[in-house]
């Protein structure tokens, strides 16, 4: 036994020493997400996949790629073209326009706080199971960037700077679509929004106006808004459940949403609950951008609900057409929802175009 122990120790020491002396086995610099105070207080630590750890070099590369128009077939459109930092990383056009001038059929989505999306279902219809997987899609989507991956890889590989940047991020200058997606996913995981007026209120650094406070009460009150089951609450500062629901928009579905992906009729017309953060910057609203203003959204929930077979059981007032809010309650609800907007997102220097 003792001999064995001694050998283990020796081996251990040898390994240590070898490691100290060798210069091979390049490793990029580990990085972490800067976590807002409210998240530290209320949420679990962010989840980073083991096969794509955050590194300084990976994030920097991802940021470059996120703003890189060369990812599109005609060098005109970057991810940031439809996920704009000053529009809550979303797009204020109802349907984003792809490189061929063709509009998509869904509204762009804000892409913040995904390091806390442990359900790992992305897009309105849940079609992507990870950020790494999601990032592969827009590049080849015909109505978005309309490129091919071999073409993107070749463009980047023949660029003067990208091979070096990939080398720094991944220890190899060989570019692949998987590494592009990994870098993009790393950058997106650093997009954090947790500095709204309401966050400050939770931390005791700001007070709500009477109107905002009343709006919060409407939002939480089972007899009035009852919004919190799907959209978070003061103890869930993500302001979404990251789950899929039918919130009573349509009697018949033009877009089957989650059901289109799963084929399950019980999921026809279900869409991902969006976070209510940054609504001030992310109009228009809903998967198809049908509502230009928050007033229209509130009117929908107040008196515009329609029944369909998959209506969420939480939309309990659907038979009455909605939760029937008064004019005052509507104004309060709106003021409260706007207090969840975080103006620092647009100005954070780490999120701007580096190119």
């Amino acid at each position: 036994m003792q001999k064995f122990t001694f050998l283990v120790c020796l081996l251990f020491l040898t390994l240590c020493c070898t490691n100290d002396d060798s210069s091979e086995g390049y490793a990029p610099t580990p990085a972490s997400i800067s976590i807002p105070g409210v998240f530290l207080q209320l949420l679990p630590a962010p989840e980073i996949p083991a096969n794509n750890p955050l590194t300084e070099e990976g994030i920097a590369l991802g940021r470059q790629l996120f703003f890189e128009k060369k990812l599109s077939a005609n060098n005109t459109l970057a991810c940031a073209g439809c996920h704009k930092p000053n529009e809550g990383f979303s797009d204020q056009r109802r349907y984003s326009i792809g490189i061929d001038g063709i509009a998509g059929f869904r509204n762009s989505m804000p892409i913040v706080n995904f390091a806390w999306n442990t359900k790992n279902k992305f897009n309105w219809d849940g079609s992507a199971n990870s950020l790494e997987q999601q990032a592969l899609e827009p590049v080849i989507n015909e109505i978005e960037m309309h490129n091919t991956w071999p073409n993107v890889v070749e463009t980047l590989q023949t660029d003067a700077n990208y091979p070096i940047a990939f080398g720094e991020a991944f220890g190899t200058t060989t570019i692949s679509k998987e590494r592009v997606a990994k870098a993009l996913a790393q950058f997106i995981r650093t997009l954090v929004s947790g500095d709204s007026k309401f966050d400050k209120y939770v931390l005791g650094e700001a007070t709500l106006t009477p109107l905002e406070a009343e709006g919060l009460a409407v939002f939480l009150d089972e007899d009035r808004g009852d919004c919190f089951h799907c959209h978070g609450s003061p103890t869930n500062p993500l302001w979404t459940d990251n789950d899929f629901h039918n919130n009573g928009l349509d009697e018949d579905f033009l877009d089957l949403g989650l059901g289109d992906i799963t084929g399950d009729p019980a999921q026809f017309g279900l869409f991902k609950s969006p976070s209510l953060r940054n609504l001030a910057f992310t109009a228009p609203y809903m998967h198809d951008g049908r509502f230009a203003t928050l007033d229209e959204v509130i009117n929908h929930y107040s008196e515009g609900l329609v029944f369909s077979q998959t209506i969420d059981p939480l939309m309990k007032t659907v038979a009455q057409g909605g939760v029937q809010l008064t004019v005052e309650e509507k104004a309060a609800l709106k003021a409260f929802m706007l207090s969840l907007s975080d103006p620092t997102l647009a100005t954070n220097p780490a999120y701007q175009n580096p190119n």
Binding site: M1, L13, E222, C230
Partner: protein, 256 residues
């Protein structure tokens, strides 16, 4: 360096010593599995969505969501020594997560097994469990705060023969919802009785009979009680009464 080597040697030596002495009795691995039924019919998320169950009132219904909180899972041996194996666990039948409590290792013997449905009062404080916050499991402070006990949702055929919806949410019952609400602990103790753990891996199945929520002692009329139940004190008391016999010990199996 030498010091480290000595330290490592010591650690390894001590570790080996313990393994070699053979005095401590070997523990048995114990798994608890939560299973769900509507009376005799087994329920899981693949049986969701179809209107196929009949409650005691006679309404046909479906389930679209079921998740609930189990707390203080405790084995107590015959000397009265308690081993708590979980503080809390969210059993999410919809997502098929939290359905097991595994990794427990206990000396063979006779135990009583107890757990609780929902947080008892002293543990039910707003915002203190990060994973439950992120799971949107909280109850707003104006409705008493703390956390849900259960969210059971689905559709039913109503008195007018139309498909209707219900959301049967149980929480700590609250009177006078609003800033000055008064909360009352309506969590439920689950006593699963005595369990023999032999010296081979043991699986304990605990069943929730969903039908009980609608049956005993209060026959539940979904036509009148289908939503806005969180702030409904009287409804929460009825739910707590119906919850008394919802859980039972289904089986204890030793794998040879």
């Amino acid at each position: 360096m030498k010091k480290i080597a000595l330290f490592l040697m010591a650690v390894t030596f001590i570790a080996c010593n313990k393994n070699d002495d053979g005095q401590t009795p070997l523990n048995t691995l114990v798994d608890i599995r939560f299973q769900h039924s509507f009376d005799e019919q087994l329920v899981d998320n693949t049986t969701f969505n179809a209107i196929q169950y009949n409650n005691a009132f006679g309404s046909e219904l479906s389930l679209t969501k079921l998740r609930y909180l189990i707390t203080n899972v405790t084995f107590t041996n015959q000397d009265g020594i308690a081993t708590k194996v979980r503080d809390y666990q969210l059993v999410d039948v919809t997502q098929n997560t939290g359905m097991f409590i595994s990794g427990t290792s206990l000396p063979p013997g006779t135990y009583t097994l107890k757990m609780r449905f929902g947080f008892a009062e002293p543990e039910n404080n707003s915002g203190i469990y990060p994973d439950l916050n992120a799971a949107s499991w909280s109850v707003p402070d104006m409705l008493g705060g703390g956390y849900h006990y259960m969210q059971l949702e689905g559709r039913f055929i109503d008195a007018g023969n139309e498909t209707s919806i219900y959301a049967y949410h149980t929480i700590s019952a609250v009177q006078n919802p609003g800033p000055d609400n008064i909360r009352e602990d309506t969590s439920i103790e689950i006593d699963l009785g005595t369990i023999n753990i032999e010296n081979t891996t043991t699986t304990i199945k605990v069943n929730m009979n969903i039908s009980e929520w609608f049956k005993n002692p209060n026959v539940w009329n979904l036509n009148t009680l289908n939503g806005m139940l969180m702030g409904n004190y009287a409804a929460q008391i009825l739910m707590q009464e119906n919850g008394q016999n919802v859980f039972s010990l289904e089986s204890v199996r030793s794998v040879q």
